[in-house]
Subunit: 148 residues, 2 copies
């Protein structure tokens, strides 16, 4: 785990913030470098798959081929939802690192438990990385939306 | 529920079969007509999101706008995996109808239980529709792959 990559995911989240999207960002890392980035754009694109993690995974699949994700890591600023966690586990990515916890939709440990997912043992998971920064960005976003 | 729409989903599955992809197909129905189709193309595209259901949902979101899926139905030939079920529930689609059950990845009742998913009460679910046809197509595919 390398905080540098979570900072890069946070940069993606900040771009989403500027675009009036819920600020979540993700990067996929392979052999020490970022091969894909994603940020939430679900509203703008009206795309259910427009979550940061799924976008980063899809780009990484195109760049590396899906089979290579076995040796990759994903850094995301928010605990993944069931859709994204399902995709992460199915991609057999090696490591999942996330920032803030999501009580409402989090599928790793907040709402669901990742061990209930098929093949979940293939992915190492660690949460709470730059948690305060990721969480504060989300809070700031919802305050901004309420004041609009 | 209308078997006609499941037959249309099966047609998509058969196209996937011809493309050497695991034969699963899906259609989204809104106001009595098909607004989106999808079929598995994960291998060809190296795209983790290339499952039939997610593809059909994404197209439907573009056509109708995500908010309208609340009144739509999805027909898919196979019990959805966690990724697809997560997306289906988050889309707040009204009805999910599926064909065959998937013991390995099925998230409705085979491997996971859909009631564990956040907001799962918003979607009505019925499985086993044209189950034998959907299941036989999958069996035929795996025999074909083994013989290759």
């Amino acid at each position: 785990m390398d905080k540098f990559f979570m900072e890069e995911a946070l940069k993606e989240a900040k771009k989403a913030f500027e675009e009036n999207e819920i600020p979540v960002g993700a990067v996929v890392v392979f052999e020490g470098r970022i091969v894909a980035k994603g940020r939430n754009n679900r509203n703008m694109e009206q795309d259910i798959a427009g979550h940061a993690e799924l976008m980063a995974l899809r780009t990484a699949g195109k760049v590396l081929g899906l089979h290579k994700l076995v040796n990759a890591s994903i850094y995301t600023t928010l605990e993944p939802c069931p859709m994204c966690l399902g995709a992460i586990i199915q991609s057999r990515i090696k490591n999942l690192y996330f920032g803030a916890y999501d009580k409402k939709l989090g599928a790793v440990e907040s709402f669901m438990k990742y061990k209930e997912f098929p093949d979940s043992s293939k992915t190492n998971i660690q949460g709470g990385i730059l948690e305060i920064e990721a969480s504060n960005l989300l809070k700031e976003f919802f305050i901004k939306m309420r004041n609009k």
